[in-house]
């Protein structure tokens, strides 16, 4: 790709130094909060009080992590985040998979099987994703109640799927418009039907955008607090709610190290996903999600 500073020029080396300098400087800005969180979680309370924000832990230990995982109090219970972690997993996985799948099918229809009004429908869906979620809490509660899935994992999955659809559909649609129509036409002539074309022709081409969609949905759903707190209860609460309770539960002193450890634990899966799949993320975006 284009280079800001052309090769061969004397300005070249200076330019490179400036570029790298800037990039590294910005890295500090991005890394600082993580650094603070990690070091704090490894320090003892006394050290936190005495030392400064950026100092390295003198005597790093994982006590706070242990406590956050298995014995910190989240309200009356003092069983740490462990249980809640798996709660989150149990609804995030289906919610992400289902919304991605439906998004893929929607994108497929909206690009390859257009019908009158399908673009309008897409537009409506897009505008719809600007609805503030606070608005939907009460009516959604009533709807879930009527459907008999209030305060169940199913209910939570349902809510996340419904409000994740706009974005997954957007991703897939924008990706699929870059796939030539002829592929579908050829398959139609070969005798394949709607689902077969989807399964055999379209889906195998979708890997990059599936990654994007999964990463996006995974972070959205995993990190959600509002739906989690409202549409779940008791020991089925997701980890974000537990984290909130944990941070707000203190008996006497505020245990910053435990809070930080808990925050990192709550963020680990998404961090993991970004670090492992980040490459595919940018690749997937390049492959098509960007176009207006």
């Amino acid at each position: 790709m284009a280079e800001l500073f052309q090769t061969r020029n004397t300005g070249h080396t200076i330019g490179r130094v400036i570029v790298y300098g800037l990039l590294v400087l910005v890295c500090f800005y991005y890394l600082m909060p993580l650094f603070v969180m990690v070091t704090t979680s490894l320090k003892s309370l006394d050290e936190i009080r005495a030392g400064n924000l950026l100092s390295l832990p003198q005597d790093p230990n994982l006590d706070a992590w242990g406590k956050a995982w298995s014995s910190a109090c989240t309200g009356v219970q003092c069983e740490g985040l462990a249980g809640f972690f798996w709660n989150s997993v149990s609804f995030v996985v289906p919610a992400v998979l289902i919304s991605t799948l439906i998004g893929a099918v929607n994108g497929y229809v909206l690009t390859m099987w257009r019908f009158r009004g399908s673009d309008l429908l897409f537009g409506l869906l897009m505008i719809g994703c600007f609805i503030p979620f606070q608005v939907v809490l009460l009516p959604m509660a009533r709807t879930l109640g009527a459907m008999g899935i209030a305060n169940s994992t199913a209910g939570l999955v349902f809510v996340h799927v419904v409000y994740g659809l706009a974005f997954t559909t957007l991703f897939f649609r924008n990706y699929y418009v870059t796939i030539p129509d002829e592929l579908v036409k050829a398959a139609k002539i070969d005798g394949a039907g709607f689902w077969l074309i989807f399964r055999r022709i379209i889906l195998p081409l979708s890997a990059p955008i599936i990654v994007v969609s999964i990463i996006w949905q995974f972070t959205q759903v995993w990190n959600d607090f509002l739906f989690g707190v409202v549409f779940s209860s008791g020991e089925r609460q997701p980890i974000t709610v537990a984290l909130n309770n944990l941070v707000n539960t203190s008996t006497g002193v505020k245990e910053y190290n435990v809070d930080m450890a808990a925050a990192i634990i709550a963020a680990l899966p998404t961090l993991f996903v970004y670090v492992v799949a980040g490459k595919y993320f940018v690749r997937g975006l390049t492959a098509g999600a960007v176009k207006g």
């Binding site: 002829e182 036409k185 050829a186 139609k188």
Partner: protein, 370 residues
């Protein structure tokens, strides 16, 4: 009853009529060429034959079935797309056998068909590659393989060669022609390359803006174009169109041409007297480049041969021939001469016009007069 018949087919998108009543009919084993400039509706018509687009009105028959309401898979057709539309996630083998698999052909049978097709098209060694690992020509062959594997009653080709480079295009053109002769299938073939149209077609339909301008054999269309558009569209380099006044000449008529300092009146030998009513008016005199050549000394000059000396403004040596441009009545007229006889720009050259195939058009309606 033809293998394919199209009766008064129309197509509108949101109120604008894209196809304005198409009528075509071909027999089994014939190759029909659809030519025309970009946007004239060739692909649309093909899509409708394939069942990928609905017909607004009119009737399409394949064999003796009206297929208007059949879905593509029930029409017993195969199609080759301009972009080939190979399934990128499948190997060549899977690409070819996909249609068979869907039609529930047994594994062993599929295997056999794939082998046969691969043999025919000489792509046996490519069977386990993905389309992305193939060159343009190879992809084109695979696309063709996918079509012939199913042995349909009708083939549709949508500009199958336009993505290939000139050299390959010539080779593939010959291959398609041989394949067609060998297999005797009925083919509808879209192109906007007139050479392809001329060399491949049994019948050609020249289209423009949703209408068929002329429908006939290549030679009919080449030698007897129905109007200015067809005459100009078919043939490369294009027919020369020279605005010229009709004058009485002996018992018949002639057209007056000026070039450099000279003026000539050429007899309209092919007009059969049809220019009578145009006397004194201007017509468009059409003559193809290959009908204007260098003057040969021998006694070949007959009544239909006229000679003239004209100044050369540009030469284009194409190899086998040299194209020479001369000004006539203010137009640049292209002549095809033997390289050895071509003069350089600026010089004068003796040219010989074969008037037996010259054509005359009404400049207003653009229709053929004679």
């Amino acid at each position: 009853m033809g293998a394919l018949s199209i009766r008064d087919v129309r197509k509108s998108y949101q109120g604008t009529e894209i196809l304005k009543g198409i009528n075509l009919e071909i027999e089994k084993g014939e190759l029909l060429i659809l030519v025309g400039p970009s946007g004239c509706g060739k692909s649309t018509l093909l899509s409708m034959i394939a069942g990928l687009d609905t017909v607004t009105s009119g009737e399409i028959r394949i064999g003796d079935r009206v297929v208007n309401n059949l879905s593509p898979k029930d029409r017993d057709i195969a199609m080759v797309f301009q972009s080939y539309a190979l399934y990128p996630s499948m190997t060549v083998r899977e690409n070819i056998s996909f249609g068979l698999e869907i039609r529930k052909v047994g594994k062993a049978e599929q295997q056999k068909i794939v082998e046969r097709v691969a043999h025919t098209l000489q792509i046996g060694h490519l069977l386990d590659r993905k389309p992305s690992q193939l060159s343009g020509g190879q992809r084109q062959r695979v696309a063709m393989g996918r079509a012939i594997a199913r042995d349909p009653s009708l083939f549709l080709f949508d500009e199958p060669l336009s993505n290939l480079d000139a050299k390959l295009r010539v080779e593939m053109r010959v291959e398609i022609k041989q394949l067609h002769q060998r297999m005797g299938t009925t083919i509808v073939y879209v192109t906007h390359d007139q050479i392809e149209a001329m060399t491949l077609g049994d019948k050609i339909a020249v289209m423009k803006a949703g209408e068929v301008q002329q429908f006939g054999t290549p030679q009919q269309i080449y030698d007897n174009p129905a109007n200015l558009f067809v005459a100009g569209f078919m043939g490369s380099p294009s027919m020369n169109f020279i605005p010229a006044r009709v004058e009485a000449m002996g018992s018949g008529h002639g057209v007056r041409l000026e070039s450099g300092a000279n003026t000539y009146v050429f007899p309209a030998v092919s007009a059969n007297g049809k220019l009578k009513s145009w006397e004194g008016k201007e017509v468009v005199f059409g003559i193809r480049p290959e009908q204007i050549t260098h003057k040969v000394e021998s006694g070949l000059v007959g009544e239909h041969m006229a000679t003239a000396t004209m100044p050369i403004s540009l030469t284009e040596p194409t190899g086998p021939d040299t194209l020479v441009l001369v000004p006539v009545n203010g137009r640049e007229v292209t002549c095809r001469v033997h390289p050895a006889h071509a003069r350089a720009p600026g010089e004068n050259m003796d040219l010989m016009f074969d008037l037996s195939k010259a054509v005359y058009f009404d400049p207003a309606s653009e229709l053929r007069i004679a």
